[in-house]
């Protein structure tokens, strides 16, 4: 529950302009993101747990599980590193 609150709090700071541009209203940072990153962020905002992301990516992009696991982990780490999301959202 606490983790969910932290997750939501951070994600609520994000404002999307189209599919590939995000603005963080607290840090003032702007990011151009890939459509896959956009999909993952939208999924998190919609309430998906980290564990569900692999299944969602697999279904949405029609890729095998190994690819989906790798992509989700890489993207989440990348998003954390860039400060788009905080560590609570990392795998």
């Amino acid at each position: 529950m606490r983790n969910n609150v932290a997750k939501k709090h951070n994600l609520q700071e994000l404002r999307f302009y189209g599919e590939e541009f995000v603005f963080n209203t607290v840090s003032g940072m702007c990011y151009r993101i890939s459509s896959t990153a956009g999909f993952i962020l939208h999924s998190l905002i919609a309430g998906a747990e980290n564990e569900q992301l692999v299944d969602l990516v697999q279904a949405h992009y029609d890729v095998n599980q190994a690819t989906a696991v790798r992509d989700v982990e890489l993207l989440l780490n990348n998003l954390v590193e860039l400060g788009v999301i905080d560590r609570h959202c990392a795998p």
Binding site: R15, F23, T25, V26, S27, G28, M29, C30, G83
Partner: protein
């Protein structure tokens, strides 16, 4: 006792027209706040005549055709000369222009204005200033200790009196460091060699002592606001500078809504019981708290940005000081609103420089500014 200098105002906009005097009139590589403050006031209070207090005939707003120029400009003695010369010059200007309020926009002027504020009040001229104690607390050499007392993160800063102390301080803090003049100028030094070069250059202009400061590399956040003098903030606007010049000046900024920064601002202003305009400058290094590295005792050069989105702090200052009954409402600046600074070429004539240089004053527009806003 109100013993305003008795000669009637001679400005030909009518004897009852009130004037506001504003300094810091240059928008160049290192933009000063005056033109932004003028534009902000003129946008909502066009009936005031704007008197420019000028330190150089080439100050750019003296040539502006936009809303950011004074109606008349007077040359001023440099702040280093002291408060007596300032008061003497102001006496003439106040008599002639019916000045009711002065908004100093340069850091160096503030101590002089604090010294003469009682006399100005006697003359019926208002000036929103911090106390001397508050100003001393935020000086470059005292800010680190001030932050330490408040448990606010700030880059480690040491005051040094000579080259020996300079080198020692840089070694203790660890390179890279900033070498700073006590009032102005900062240079980054990555090595002992650069340190000595920077200190020689800065000391030549500003003399010793100098400051050595830990160099923090991160995003810069600035807060402009107005303190009520009792510990509360009237209003603020917070931006991230997302385009900075080589000297760190913000040429683009975007509004952020960061509760942590708001809380920090409240704590700082409460402790200082700050009166009047201020700018708080923070650096945010990834993974560390916001570090306060400077407080400016005046509006910043970007203050016309919030004014343009209905958060007009200069107008609130004027209305507050002059006791306006119905204050202009101020919006809260919303995250994502942004500004980009735009430089243009202004046309002038050497006759303009000659007039200012030889007579110490220049009427810029007697009527045009008023007509534009009408």
């Amino acid at each position: 006792m109100n013993s305003r200098p008795s000669s009637p105002p001679i400005n030909d906009m009518g004897n009852n027209m009130k004037s506001i005097a504003i300094s810091g009139l240059h928008r160049g590589e290192n933009p000063q706040p005056g033109p932004s403050v003028i534009a902000s006031i003129r946008r909502l209070l066009p009936t005031f005549r704007i008197v420019g207090l000028s330190y150089d005939p080439l100050e750019s707003s003296l040539y502006s055709q936009q809303s950011d120029h004074p109606d008349v400009a007077y040359s001023m003695p440099y702040p280093e000369i002291g408060p007596d010369a300032l008061l003497e010059r102001l006496e003439t200007i106040i008599k002639r222009e019916n000045v009711v309020l002065i908004i100093p926009c340069l850091d160096l002027e503030i101590p002089n204005f604090i010294s003469i504020s009682a006399k100005l009040r006697d003359w019926g001229v208002q000036c929103s200033l911090p106390t001397k104690t508050s100003l001393d607390a935020i000086s470059k050499s005292n800010l680190y200790n001030f932050c330490h007392q408040l448990n606010i993160y700030s880059p480690e800063t040491k005051l040094v009196m000579n080259e020996f102390e300079l080198e020692q301080a840089a070694e203790e803090i660890g390179y890279p460091v900033y070498v700073k003049g006590r009032l102005y100028e900062a240079q980054l030094a990555n090595s002992k060699q650069e340190l000595l070069k920077a200190s020689n250059s800065i000391a030549k202009t500003w003399s010793w002592p100098l400051l050595v400061q830990e160099a923090l590399i991160g995003e810069e956040y600035d807060i402009v606001g107005l303190g009520d003098g009792h510990g509360s903030i009237i209003k603020t606007c917070t931006i991230r500078k997302f385009q900075r010049s080589s000297t760190g000046k913000g040429f683009a900024g975007i509004v952020v809504e960061d509760p942590e920064l708001e809380q920090l601002a409240q704590r700082i202003i409460k402790r200082l019981r700050w009166n009047g305009p201020f700018e708080l400058e923070f650096l945010k290094v990834h993974g560390k708290p916001h570090a306060l590295f400077e407080i400016n005792p005046r509006f910043p050069a970007w203050v016309d940005f919030p004014s343009q989105i209905a958060c007009n702090l200069p107008v609130r200052l004027v209305e507050g000081i002059l006791g306006t009954r119905v204050l202009t409402p101020m919006n809260t600046c919303a995250a994502g609103q942004m500004f980009v600074r735009h430089c243009i070429d202004l046309v002038g004539d050497v006759a303009d420089i000659a007039e200012m240089s030889s007579t110490g004053e220049r009427i810029i527009t007697q009527h045009k500014a008023q007509l534009e806003v009408i």
